[in-house]
């Protein structure tokens, strides 16, 4: 039994509820206990660090203090939250920066609380480790045979590489390996870490639409039925913009975008409904029904 502090961030309580939901079901099945950090605050996301560098560090630093107090690793399933926490831990090495952040936090002694030592885990670090994949494979009751997917990591899980230490900056494979365990056919593709447009979704939606189209195009070219993500931002940009892409470019994708935890949940035997997959903007249940029908006719 593993126990982690759980930092949902705004997304998993809002636009990415299905991520939160599927994550909790999957964690429960795998014997992982999650305790939501009481009193957590916003990670600052792009807004904070692009306007006030110290604020961008102070917000995650406060969350790290809460996590350090509980003396257990903290899971941040949102790639943005994870990224901000890791970057903050790195930046706090610098005494002058630490001092400035401490002043913003009304004098908390950050070194004494151990904020740099608390282990911050991404979703993939938690679920795609060798041990966890072995455990997960035992719970697969309904392998996703016939589902062709590409894994999309985005930027926030791999950059900056010297801080996040991904398995490979340009060709990460941890999610691929995990989804393979779920029985899906994982296709190699070159856009694993290409940009989705991220928070430009608000200021320059046209760019997000163009980049999303590029990603969806490549996924379709290599023969994928769906894209798998581990980032609410990537998910949102790909899932919610397909109608706009159609309106602007006349190209219709209807490509489902799954959270990796949703595919795990499906393979573990939960229904799409239980996993709230029906809440996606781009329909993702039809393909699952089709898959079921295929299996039934073969079986």
């Amino acid at each position: 039994m593993q126990t982690y502090s759980y930092y949902p961030g705004c997304s998993l309580h809002g636009t990415a509820k299905e991520y939160d939901h599927s994550l909790k079901l999957v964690a429960h099945r795998l014997g992982i206990q999650l305790h939501e950090l009481p009193g957590w605050n916003c990670c600052g996301a792009t807004a904070a660090h692009s306007t006030d560098e110290i604020l961008g560090l102070a917000l995650p630093a406060r969350n790290l203090v809460l996590a350090a107090e509980r003396k257990r690793p903290v899971l941040a399933p949102c790639a943005m939250c994870f990224n901000r926490m890791k970057v903050t831990q790195h930046e706090l090495q610098e005494p002058a920066t630490r001092q400035a952040v401490q002043e913003r936090l009304e004098g908390v002694d950050l070194e004494a609380t151990g904020v740099r030592q608390v282990q911050v885990l991404s979703l993939l670090e938690t679920f795609a480790s060798d041990d966890m994949r072995a455990t997960a494979s035992k719970w697969v009751v309904k392998p996703l045979k016939g589902l062709k997917v590409v894994c999309y990591y985005g930027c926030l899980l791999v950059r900056p590489p010297e801080i996040l230490q991904p398995d490979d900056l340009e060709n990460p494979r941890s999610m691929d390996r995990l989804v393979e365990v779920m029985g899906a056919e994982v296709l190699d593709w070159p856009f694993k870490t290409e940009c989705c447009g991220a928070s430009l979704a608000i200021a320059r939606a046209d760019i997000v639409v163009a980049l999303g189209r590029r990603l969806l195009n490549m996924a379709r070219t290599v023969g994928a039925d769906a894209i798998v993500t581990a980032c609410p931002m990537c998910h949102s940009n790909l899932d919610t913009r397909q109608a706009q892409i159609k309106a602007r470019y006349g190209e219709e994708f209807n490509m489902p975008i799954f959270y990796v935890t949703e595919l795990m949940g499906l393979a573990f035997g939960y229904s799409p409904k239980q996993l709230k997959i029906h809440t996606h903007v781009t329909n993702a249940t039809r393909i699952l029904e089709r898959l079921d029908a295929q299996h039934a006719s073969v079986g």
Binding site: D168, L169, E170, N171, P190, T221
Partner: protein
Amino acid sequence: MARIGVFVCNCGSNIAATVDVKQVAETIGQLPDVVFSTHYMFMCSEPGQKLIQDAVREHNLDRVVVAACSPTMHFKTFSGAVQRAGLNPYMLEMANIREQCSWVHPDKAIGTDKATDIVAMAVGKTRWAEPLFPREIGVTRRALVIGGGIAGIQAALDIANAGVPVVLVERSPSIGGRMAQLDKTFPTLDCSGCILTPRMTELVQHPNITLYSWSEVQAVRGFVGNFEVDILHKPRYVDATLCTGCGECLTRCPWKKYPSEFDEGMGTRAAIYRPFPQAVPNVPVIDEEHCIGLKSLREDPSRDKPKCGACQKFCPRGAIDFRQQPTVSTEQFGAIVLANGMSLFDPTIYGEYGYGRYPDVITSIQMERLMNAAGPTGGEIRRPSDGKHPRSVVFLACVGSRDERVGRPYCSKICCMYIAKHAIMLKEHDPHVQSYVFYMDVRAGGKGYEEFIRRAQEEYGTVYLRGRVSKVYPEGDHMVVMGEDTLLGMPVRVEADLVVLATGVQPQPDADALARILGISYDGYGFINEAHPKLNPVESNTAGILLAGTTIGPKDIPESVSQASAAAAKVLGLLSQSTLLGEAMTSWVNQTRCVGCFSCEAVCPYHAIERVTLRDGRLAAQVNEGLCKGCGLCASACPGKVITLRGFSDQALLEQMNVLLLEPTAAG
């Protein structure tokens, strides 16, 4: 009583501007035993030296102090003057009042006081000066060349043609090096093999040259004029005295699918192979790692026959010998030329370029093999994935050059030129080919080089895009190169059938290990350091070890060849002497008081301390004066104070300190 003369140099205004040289000469002239003291504009000039010589004779001086620049600059000049005046050259003492005084002090009063102290100390020290006599060392008239690339070949031929015997050691199965892999050479587009192979043949047939291929230098002992070198001869498993090079074994070997090192993985070879058809010597080698027969014998030594043995069965001369063992020979040399060459940067670290992930991303040296008529495709340029002739080719410059991120901040110097060569040759092979080059700057310094780049652009229509590439990925049956054109300030996208990475030059992976065997220094990358980058460009900092080619740093063929000839000239100069003068300022051990702790041995960087058994059976230290460089570490380390560095006796150094600390001088 000593009779000391002091000569203070103005060095124009270099010293005189911040040191009152007249006052220094006068003050020092008051010191006991100083019978003559003066200053002069340029002491190193002819009249300056004559002034010293005349004063020695006139005042019957027995010791001379020159207060001027650093002794590394002019000790030789002034000791020569002293010697011409009839004194032992080591009766000269230099006081450095330039680098260590005038150049670092803006204030004339302070500078003058300090200069006075420095000169007074030198006067103190010189009271203990003794005549020293360098030893004469015999010279072995035979040279070793390490590395059989074009630099090694050139050096060996130049030395041998002057009548001096040469041994060339090459660790691969054939000489020829990088140049043998190339198709054409820039900027003249000479066929590389056509100009190289006659030299290779000349070398192997030369009566003064012994070639040891498939051999490595294992250990080097001794010193200039007297090196002793252990050479490892790896087993070829082919008896070179029987083999005629007919090549029957190569066709008979059933295990043909191993990637060829010489073809950079673009082609395959058998488990018994020669790297290329014109290999010298033309004797194949069996690959220990992959030969089934060798493996079977190694796993079960009691077998009387190897498992496969096809080559042995079909060899018309019975030259295959699976029982060959490595041997080591020890040979004597007077001088060594190191020309062990370079390796190329491994671009897999640039994940964004996809080398190793996508078959149609290759390196420039692989491109050479594809272009070469003797290469794996017979000179037809076919891309690895599907064998198609590429129509659009993108070159990426500076892959592993000028990039601090990958630890290679330096320019590899040759890439701009070979990219242009490839672009030109591609068009010559197929006029429909369009080449693109992503570059940072085009660096084409050299005779006819800039013109060559122009030709690639203007006559051959190569498109040069100034900017770095962010990503290379496949799309359908072609590659897409995403990059930036910094002149347009726009991202660009180029579709390519083949992407070529111009990988940079780096040292051989084990260059540092070989440098340690030779006892020479190397830089942070592993390139060998020259004794002086401007004035001793082909000498290492160990006497008798010369350098040539890319072992020093990135360079092209003409530069490597020039260096090789320069190194050969240095070797010939050295070996034309029957004896050499050793270092006079060496250490010596008072063996009657040595307790044999060998602290000296542990600190000596030149391995000059020997262990000798005295007549009474005691073990004591002894200094090999041929190896000793006079650094003095042993003298400092000796706990019993029984080691003395000649010219730097304890008495002399104490006297120097006494002058500074006890006697009030001008400085007070």
